[in-house]
């Protein structure tokens, strides 16, 4: 009977994957078609195909909606994959990039730049220097995220780290870094509270090609690494002695897995600000769709991450139009109940 059930479910697994693969272009298209400024579908299609049209339409599609949609898809995939990697690495289903302090480190980097710029050039009106500060946010966040991952890795014992030590160190470091962010904002952040609060909420508002240019090289590198580490990463879920005796250089592949997860997370957070729960929930969702089939879970994680952030951003733009709900807020609102539901379903 169990054989029959698992036969059925493996059939269902491919169905889910097929549905997701179809869903991705649909959500992507919806993100281009729908939004605050009402454009007719024909206008959108014509602009996309011809690359030209009415100036207003070209601007909305090419400068606003398209880069934003691409960023949403990439960021969703990256956060979800990083969550999958960290859950494998720590053998802990509750792990995600919040855990390693990567998000917190990235936030600190961003806040430091904004506050620092404000303090150094207090004579200049804030709105005048606003543009240049915003442009340097991604780089600062990326640097902050990478540094905090190095810190957590080092404090966990570097090549001698154990999953448990990594989790504990990560949680402690994340708490300290987040406290520093709050402290900085409270002391010197008054003039920029709005800018920073919007970024910390995890938002894709106004993300343009400029942001994508920061993100793309890291995305390419991170996603390539994600493919390359997949086979060794599977063995990280066994106990250490088994992985070692199967010929895995454990400390090397742990380091490479952490490095890849950091790359994917820090570059994503640098552009959108911290978006929680994607890395935590999506791998569980994938496990629900394809129980026991890890390769399929990995693939579903990547696609579902993109679909969910795209859908979340679209919903955020539409529900309160013309105002926007940050995708980070929606992710938490949807992510937490989903997670609780998945938790209850577990035996």
């Amino acid at each position: 009977m169990i054989a029959a059930v698992s036969g059925l479910s493996s059939h269902k697994q491919w169905l889910w994957l097929g549905a997701l693969v179809c869903l991705l272009p649909i959500v992507l298209a919806l993100n281009l078609f729908l939004g605050a400024s009402e454009l007719s579908p024909m206008e959108v299609i014509r602009t996309l195909l011809a690359g030209s049209g009415q100036e207003h339409v070209v601007r909305v599609i090419w400068e606003l909606r398209l880069p934003r949609a691409i960023a949403a898809a990439l960021i969703g995939s990256q956060l979800a994959l990083a969550g999958f990697m960290l859950q494998s690495l720590t053998r802990n289903p509750l792990a995600d990039s919040g855990l390693l302090g990567i998000s917190a480190g990235a936030s600190l980097g961003a806040v430091l730049v904004v506050v620092g710029a404000g303090t150094l050039s207090s004579g200049v009106a804030v709105y005048e220097q606003g543009e240049s500060v915003l442009a340097s946010l991604p780089a600062a966040a990326l640097l902050g995220g990478l540094l905090s991952a190095v810190l957590v890795y080092g404090l966990s014992g570097a090549s001698a780290l154990t999953p448990l030590r990594l989790i504990l160190t990560g949680v402690v470091c994340a708490a300290i870094l987040n406290a520093l962010v709050t402290g900085l904002l409270g002391l010197w952040g008054q003039a920029h509270t709005e800018t920073i609060a919007a970024w910390l909420a995890g938002s894709l508002n106004g993300r343009s090609w400029e942001h994508l240019n920061v993100l793309l090289p890291w995305s390419a590198l991170g996603l390539l690494a994600a493919i390359l580490i997949y086979r060794p990463m599977r063995l990280l879920r066994l106990v250490d002695e088994q992985a070692l005796s199967l010929g895995l250089n454990l400390s090397l592949w742990r380091l490479l897995t952490i490095a890849t997860a950091t790359l994917l997370t820090a570059s994503a957070v640098a552009v959108s600000g911290p978006i929680g729960f994607i890395g935590l929930v999506v791998p569980h969702l994938a496990q629900g769709f394809a129980p026991g089939h890890m390769a399929l879970q990995y693939l579903i994680t990547a696609i579902a991450g993109a679909v969910i952030v795209l859908a979340g951003d679209l919903a955020g733009r539409l529900v309160l139009a013309p105002y926007e709900l940050p995708v980070g807020v929606l992710a938490a609102l949807i992510g937490v109940p989903t997670f609780l539901y998945l938790l209850r379903r577990q035996p």
Binding site: I2, A3, S6, G7, S10, S88, R91, I227, L228, R231, P232, R234, L235, R237, L238, V239, E241, Q242, L244, S245, L246, G247, L248, N249, L250, Q287, P291, G292, H293, M294
Partner: protein, 279 residues
């Protein structure tokens, strides 16, 4: 391929468990490691498997020190099954056994036809092929243990080390696992080294017994030469009687712990001798 440890000093975090020990594991034989809890059986097994670096001395396979081999090279020669293996959640038996082929695969290359053939062979040998598509959690303890052994033999290493492979199994499943190892040994010449708690099983299923006490090797050799009343008293602190069974292997029956025997002797004053009173 012969595995040997020479003057190894072993322990964890600076705490020495095995002060100095040398042992040679005979090829194509089943070796059982016996001794009380904490005597260093697991520690010795881990160092033989290259999982625990000795403080001094060294372990080698055919005179190649393990320390000079990469993990992958070692995995081609030696497989190890820990006491409490752990599987990724709801992984299918076939995929788990397939992990045994990891040392033969690259980063991008998946299972070759050869790999698939060997995985089928390993499942067939261990009698788990009918569960191939099931998640590991759906199996009983004995079935799971056979899956782990299937994964280990799919590695196609000549030496298989097992840390207490029968501890969490019921009696029938214990025998099934031991019979499986015995068969793998006789059919394909697999060298087996395992730690066991049950002396009678150690005697029945092994060619070679290593008895350990407090980090030292007390006795080694054929079961009939090693397992006797004196050894059981010294190593396990058990008063027992050892009979030679129909199979020609020693069979031990425990009477009492040495502790209790002493107590009852002390209680009867006519038996108490000065030397015993010292204990």
């Amino acid at each position: 391929m012969s595995l040997s440890a020479e003057n190894v000093r072993l322990g964890y975090d600076g705490q020495v468990i095995v002060p100095e020990l040398s042992v040679k594991i005979p090829r194509h034989k089943v070796t059982a490691l016996i001794g009380p809890n904490g005597c260093g059986k697991s520690t010795l097994l881990k160092s033989l498997a290259g999982l625990l670096k000795p403080y001094s001395g060294g372990v080698s396979i055919d005179n190649h020190p393990l320390a000079s081999m990469s993990r992958r090279e070692l995995a081609l020669k030696l497989a190890f099954l820990p006491q409490k293996p752990q599987a990724p959640e709801s992984i299918r038996v076939r995929d788990l056994v397939g992990y045994g082929r990891f040392p033969y695969q690259g980063l991008m290359r998946g299972a070759s036809a050869e790999d698939k053939k060997i995985v089928r062979w390993a499942m067939n040998e261990t009698g788990v092929e009918s569960y191939a598509e099931r998640p590991i959690e759906a199996l009983s303890g004995g079935q799971q243990q056979r899956v782990w052994i299937a994964m280990a033999i799919a590695q196609k290493a000549e030496i298989l080390l097992l840390d207490e492979p029968t501890t969490f199994l019921d009696w029938g499943h214990q025998l099934e696992v031991l019979e499986l190892l015995e068969r793998l040994n006789t059919e394909s010449g697999l060298t087996v080294v395992m730690s066991l708690h049950d002396l009678n099983q150690a005697a029945q299923y092994s060619d070679n017994v290593l008895a350990m006490k407090e980090g030292a090797l007390i006795a080694k050799g054929a079961p009939t030469d090693v397992i006797n009343a004196d050894l059981l008293r010294e190593v396990f602190r058990v008063e027992a009687e050892c009979l030679i069974g129909k199979s020609g292997k020693p069979h031990s029956i425990a009477h009492s712990s040495v502790h209790k025997a002493q107590q009852s002797r002390e209680a009867g004053p006519h038996n108490a001798t000065p030397s015993e009173a010292l204990f």
